[in-house]
């Protein structure tokens, strides 16, 4: 009999964290195809010239398109997105990765940068929703 090392439900027990998996990857397939298209300079130009029109080339949900237009990274993660794809969008905008990441924390980019310079976010109290440790 094969046994699991631990229940996969545990992955939902980490506060403020979405674990990217095969189902999410599929849900975000067309969103991610859009993100990877921005690796070509001519596509970046086409996107900048007409964001909505460019997005309509992809079979993304309207919700995903709206979240791209809003640069709502929290929403994009909710809709299946993964940060390594999504930074193609923030790179196109000339944002640093730090700015894109900070936008999900409820802090301003400056507040977030200051937290990182001071040593980052402590893991204390951030390990488990259930155990509150």
């Amino acid at each position: 009999m094969r046994t699991r090392l631990y229940s996969l439900d545990e992955l939902n027990d980490i506060p403020g964290t979405t674990v990217f998996n095969a189902l999410r990857s599929r849900q975000a397939y067309h969103l991610h195809k859009f993100c990877m298209s921005l690796m070509q300079p001519e596509n970046r130009e086409a996107f900048r010239a007409d964001e909505r029109g460019y997005l309509d080339r992809f079979r993304m949900s309207d919700e995903q398109k709206r979240a791209v237009l809003d640069r709502d990274f929290t929403k994009l993660i909710d809709l299946g997105g993964n940060i390594y794809f999504l930074v193609k969008l923030s790179n196109t905008d000339g944002w640093t990765t730090q700015k894109a990441v900070s936008s999900m924390t409820g802090m301003t980019p400056d507040e977030y940068a200051a937290m990182m310079r001071a040593g980052g976010r402590s893991p204390e109290g951030q390990r488990s929703i259930r155990g509150k440790s």
Partner: protein, 280 residues
């Protein structure tokens, strides 16, 4: 025969590459990071390796959309530098070693590691930032590189133990190669960091310090760290540390620590770096 003479691990933060490319290595923010790699740059000049087997992860640049390989080995003569959305890094083309790569592919699949073989592969900051840190600015890289891309993005990633075992199999494969090559294995990524959600910015110096210590003192403990524990303790992207265990597994039982460096932060990440010498 070929021999693995050293193992090197390093973070591969993209912002380090940007600072390097834009000549900001002496800025107040970046100087401590680049100073931390001075020792290894001199070491690499002395060691002059022929080939680096470079464990890294693709950041949705060449894979992860249409195909999601757990372990993918780069088989080509050369690997282009990917454009990740702000133009290609101005670094040399990465030259491969198709003959050694083919030998590794054969040996590792025979040894029950069912690798994906990449006959074409563009490489991103995960691979080129460590090259810049170890070799500095150059016209061409002074080594041939065999990329070994590991899925650390889409759960489930391979386990720490599986990565260790792959490293051990790489050691056997290299030692069965007839040419007298000086080979290094590099593990990249880490240390603690999380790039998404409200918990973004997580840094765990206690976890990182113990990880660095136990690469020499108690590697068996590191092999037992679960994926869940990596996510909880080191952040969703901190799980990249499993790639360090491929490097460590390739060095055999006993190693000597030659140098280490740890610094917080580089952008969102705790920078860690270690140089190990196999003793057996």
């Amino acid at each position: 025969m070929a021999r693995i003479t050293a193992g090197i691990a390093s973070s591969h933060v993209p912002a380090i590459g940007a600072a390097f490319d834009q000549g900001r290595t002496q800025d107040q923010y970046w100087k401590p990071v680049f100073d931390g790699y001075e020792w290894v740059r001199a070491f690499e000049t002395r060691e002059d390796p022929d080939v680096v087997i470079l464990c890294y992860n693709d950041h949705a640049s060449a894979m992860m959309l249409d195909v999601v390989p757990t372990f993918a080995l780069g088989m080509a003569e050369e690997f282009e530098v990917a454009d990740e959305g702000w133009g290609k890094r101005p670094v040399p083309l990465v030259m491969g070693d198709p003959v050694l790569a083919a030998h590794l592919a054969e040996q590792l699949v025979i040894d029950e590691f069912d690798l994906t073989l990449m006959n074409t592969l563009d490489v991103d900051h995960g691979l080129t930032v460590p090259l810049s840190l170890m070799f500095g600015k150059c016209e061409e890289w002074p080594v041939r590189v065999i990329p070994l891309a590991v899925n650390v993005t889409q759960f489930p990633t391979p386990s720490a133990e599986r990565c260790w075992q792959l490293g051990a199999a790489i050691r056997d494969a290299v030692e069965s190669y007839p040419a007298g090559l000086n080979v290094q294995v590099w593990g990249t990524g880490g240390m603690s960091h999380q790039l998404q959600g409200e918990r973004a910015g997580l840094i765990n110096p206690a976890f990182d310090g113990a990880f660095l210590d136990d690469l020499t003192a108690d590697p068996d403990r590191l092999r037992r760290i679960t994926r869940l524990e990596f996510l909880r303790e080191a952040g969703t992207e901190g799980i990249e540390l499993i790639m360090w265990l491929i490097m460590r597994g390739a060095l055999g039982e006993r190693v000597e620590e030659l140098n280490r460096f740890y610094h917080v932060p580089a952008s969102n990440t705790a920078v860690g770096h270690i140089v190990l010498r196999p003793l057996d």
